[in-house]
Amino acid sequence: MNIALAEALNLSVMFGLRSVLAEVNLRLERGHLALITGANGAGKSTLVHALCGLIGPSAGQVRMFGQDVRRLQAQDRRRVGVMLHRSMLYRNLTPRENLEFYAKLNGCERASEDAARWLERMGLSAVGDQRARELSRGMEQRLAIARALIGEPELILFDEPFASLDPQGTALVVDLLQERLARGAAVLVTSHETVALKDAEMESYRLNSGRLLPAGAEANRRIVWRWMLS
């Protein structure tokens, strides 16, 4: 069942006179993980922004659930979970309130139960009622991930989810992603390093100054295993 939940067709993005993405073609399919690696400034964040429609393409198109991403209906926007470099959390709300707020935005019926469940899952129950501004960077990252996943999205776009996470945190996020992949979600993850996901259909790409190149699945799997063994 290879239905693309989202696809980029000849996607190009320019910031003024700087070309950030050039003719990117990408399909995100159910149960598949697309891993985008690349150096700083290669265009990873821009790719995520463009895929979720926050940045308009200067050429090409992004299609999501079969329609242009910029004309996405409200009920379809609910099916996308996005995590960007900045956490989108309100610093003066507590983690619990933040999660409840975003759960309600996504139309969850039982927002407070969902929020409590996610705090528990991310290991944040102890700090659930402090202000979000008091969280450490790693905790904030965990909370940002919970924020993106709280609406149970089918399409997951994560920009650098492993940044500033400790090994337990990384393992937790890998678990979460694998769980969602197993349920048929499509996942895109950017990272400046390769990550370890086993038993998942994984396509690996490298962004090189705006061009998306296949990194070669076999080569990548080898890197992954080496990373896990080390």
Binding site: A74, L84, S87, Y90, N92, L105
Partner: protein
């Protein structure tokens, strides 16, 4: 939409209660403007409705524009505005909620403003002050609607606050004139007929600004 409005507004009010700076900024800045104008007018301004009404509206617009910038900028902290834009909410709902939040902050600070006005301009505590309330609320709504709309873009620009003032103040002129006329009449003890036309202008402006914002906000939000 109504549910969305409710929890957006609830979120804004919670944030304002916990170290929000919008109401504080409004109160302090309008106090400053009143003091400056009271000094400029001199002692003979006491009890003169026209001076008091002018000071009131100058304080409203001068404190309101930066306050709206502040309220909009709060949404850009941590890119929260992107979270809202990615959510199933319509942009117009986000706009209306923000206008309600800013307008409410202005309404709260106007209560303080009114009290200071009576003290500084030697007015009477009487029912005329109550009649000022609907006029001021209409003025606050228009200012909130206009400055929230334009502030969404200007807060992302260099010299954004100055640009907001340059763009919003001339557009706000009809409300300013009508508001001052109506306030002068009310403080002078005139009847409803003298206030009717200015009130209509205020309401028409509010309608125009809110409708424009409702329809055009999505083009300005990121």
């Amino acid at each position: 939409m109504l549910a969305g409005l409710r929890f957006l507004l609830h979120k804004d009010l919670t944030l304002e209660r916990r170290g929000g700076r919008v109401v504080l900024e409004l109160c302090v800045l309008s106090l400053l403007v009143l003091v400056v104008l009271a000094i400029a007018y001199g002692p003979e301004a006491g009890g003169r409705p026209a001076s008091a009404a002018g000071a009131l509206w100058v304080a409203l617009i001068l404190s309101g524009l930066p306050a709206a910038s502040l309220a909009v900028a709060a949404e850009h902290e941590n890119d929260c505005i992107k979270g809202l834009r990615l959510s199933p909410l319509e942009p117009s709902t986000i706009y209306v909620a923000k206008v309600a939040g800013v307008g409410l902050s202005m309404a709260v600070s106007e209560a303080a403003l009114l009290l200071l006005l009576v003290l500084f301009f030697n007015l009477q505590f009487d029912t005329n002050l109550l009649r000022l309330i609907p006029i001021l609320l209409l003025g606050a709504l228009g200012l909130a609607a206009l400055s929230t709309l334009l502030g969404t873009t200007t807060s992302r620009l260099r010299a954004g606050e100055m640009l907001l003032a340059l763009l919003a103040a001339p557009l706000y002129v009809p409300e300013l004139i009508a508001g001052i006329k109506a306030s002068t009449a009310v403080l002078g003890g005139s009847g409803l007929t003298a206030v009717l036309l200015p009130l209509k202008i205020l309401a028409a402006c509010d309608l125009l600004f809110v409708t424009c914002g409702y329809l055009l906000f999505e083009y300005l939000a990121p």
